[in-house]
């Protein structure tokens, strides 16, 4: 058995949900990756912040005919993925505040976010 090495993984999410497949793909990779017991963080920058907006209403049967995967972010805690960071400027310039988000996050300024990126072993961009 190889010795287990825990690496720091950061998923950087910069796209709004639904318009492209990036957000959902990222989330699926996070869920699959969670099986490997790594040190996982998620960053939400630019339109990526919109992924966490409360009250998304979709269903396979009505509306846009797509699963409401925003609810899956609330399952991440059960997968031991608990480090979610939101870029303050991206959030504020979109007129959003933490109260508009469906999960607990830490709001980071540029310096904190840049430092977070520097600390990683692997950065995955979506």
């Amino acid at each position: 058995m190889e010795e287990e090495v825990i690496k720091k993984f950061l998923y950087v999410n910069r796209k709004a949900p639904y318009g492209t497949i990036y957000a959902l793909e990222s989330l699926e990779v996070v869920l699959i990756g969670a099986a490997f017991d790594q040190d996982v963080s998620l960053a939400f920058i630019d339109d990526g912040v919109y992924q966490l907006k409360k009250d998304q209403q979709t269903s396979v049967d009505s509306g846009i005919g797509v699963k409401d995967f925003s609810r899956t972010y609330r399952a991440l805690e059960g997968y031991d993925v608990e480090k979610l960071y939101v870029d303050r400027k991206s959030m504020e310039e979109r007129g959003l505040s933490e109260d508009d988000l469906l999960v607990d996050v830490q709001v980071f300024d540029e310096a904190q976010m840049a430092e977070l990126m520097e600390q990683q072993d692997v950065v995955l961009s979506f």
Binding site: R14, Y22, D46, K89, A114, M117, E118, V122, S125, F126
Partner: protein
């Protein structure tokens, strides 16, 4: 740390954000449509000039030339690189953040 950008700054805010989150000593590589961000005389020149104070900025020459531009059109201080240079940058940096 290496940041890569491949979208035109006129189309996406990737370059702006890349510059916002890059820190002293980082490298930024502009390729595909992002080479437009390396050019003199655009409204992004000030942004890039600012970035050059702390970071090394590279432009992928084949993408530049394909778009009718030459190194003489590029902002002073931006370095030229080719595919092999792109690979070396990726290998030399511990992490790569792709600003898609």
């Amino acid at each position: 740390m290496l940041h890569t950008v491949n979208k035109s700054p006129f189309d996406k805010n990737s370059l702006e954000n890349c510059v916002r989150f890059s820190r002293k000593g980082h490298s930024i590589l502009l390729f595909e449509d992002a080479i437009y961000g390396a050019l003199k005389g655009t409204r992004f020149e000030a942004l890039l000039t600012e970035a050059l104070k702390n970071t090394s900025v590279y432009v992928l020459v084949p993408d530049l030339e394909a778009r009718g531009m030459r190194m003489e059109n590029v902002i002073e201080g931006v370095k030229a690189t080719d595919y092999a240079g792109f690979v070396n940058l990726s290998v030399d940096n511990k992490t790569v953040q792709a600003w898609l």
